[in-house]
Assembly symmetry: C2
C-alpha cells in the first residue's frame, strides 16, 4: 500500500489518541518525515511509512529522524515483512482507514529548546497549509512560502 | 465589511510579514479571538476584526485578550471611525484582499510557559483543521474534536 494511504490511516488513529498530525514535515535541512504528531502534553512522535521491502531498504536517512522526536515508529501494512524492522523502534500496523500501535517506540525525550523549535515549525507549517487551502488567493500573491 | 473578510486580508498581510495565522482561536475558556498570528521567533499577536461601530462597542471581552499575546491589534476597514479605538492598541487597516499595519500594538511579552502552551494549542488546532479538510472521513469517524 502506498505510503500516503498508510499516513492517512495512521493520522486517523493518532488523532483518536489525542495527537494532532502533519504530513511531510521538515524538522531540519535535508530531512523530511512522513508524519509528525504532537500530543496533548507536547509529546512529539515521528512516523515513517513504508510501502514494502524496497522502500525500507533504500532508506538511508531514518536514523537521523531519531534526534527529532520523543518516539519513533514505522507504519506498514499487514503484508510487510516486519522482521526487517529494527526491534528498538516503534511499529504501527496501518491501512488507509485506520491503524494500531503494535509496538510502542522507546522514549528518548527531546531537549526543551529543540521541542519548542519543532512545535513552532509544526504550528507555522500547519497554519500556512491551512491558509493556502482556505484562501487559494494567498498562494498566487506570494512567490514562495516563508521559511 | 464583515469581520471574516477583514480577517482574510489581515491574514494575507501577516503572512507576507512572515507570520502564520489561524482564525477563530480559543486561547482560554470563554475567549475566542478572530486572528492569532505566530511569528518566526515565536511572537504571538492577536487581531480582532471589527466591522463597524456597533461591533466594537458591543465587545466587552477584548481587554481579556491582552493577556494572551505579545501585541494586540484591531483590524478595521477604511470607513471605520478610528477615533473609537483605544490609542494604546495596534491598528490594522484591512480589506478582503490585503491590509497594512497603521499603528503597531505595544509589546507586553508573554511569560514563557504561557507562550509554549499557546504555541502548542495553535499547532494542534491548525493541524486538526488541516486534517479535517484533507481527509473529510476523519470528521465522520469521531464525534467531536479532541480538546
Amino acid at each position: 500500500m502506498p505510503g500516503q494511504r498508510l499516513a492517512r490511516g495512521t493520522g486517523r488513529h493518532l488523532r483518536d489518541l489525542g495527537f494532532a498530525v502533519l504530513e511531510e514535515f521538515v524538522p531540519a535541512r535535508g530531512l523530511r518525515v512522513d508524519v509528525i504528531a504532537l500530543g496533548p502534553k507536547g509529546e512529539i512522535w515521528i512516523v515513517e511509512c513504508k510501502s514494502g521491502r524496497a522502500d525500507f531498504t533504500s532508506d538511508r536517512k531514518w536514523t537521523g529522524y531519531l534526534d527529532w522526536c520523543d518516539r519513533f515508529f514505522w507504519a506498514v501494512d499487514a503484508d510487510f515483512p516486519e522482521g526487517l524492522l529494527p526491534p528498538e523502534t516503534g511499529l504501527i500496523l496501518a491501512d488507509a482507514w485506520d491503524a494500531e500501535i503494535v509496538r510502542m517506540g522507546p522514549e528518548a525525550r527531546l531537549a526543551s529548546a529543540r521541542r519548542t523549535a519543532l512545535m513552532r515549525g509544526f504550528a507555522r507549517q500547519a497554519a500556512w497549509r491551512l491558509q493556502a487551502l482556505r484562501d487559494p488567493g494567498v498562494a498566487a500573491l506570494l512567490p514562495s512560502q516563508p521559511g
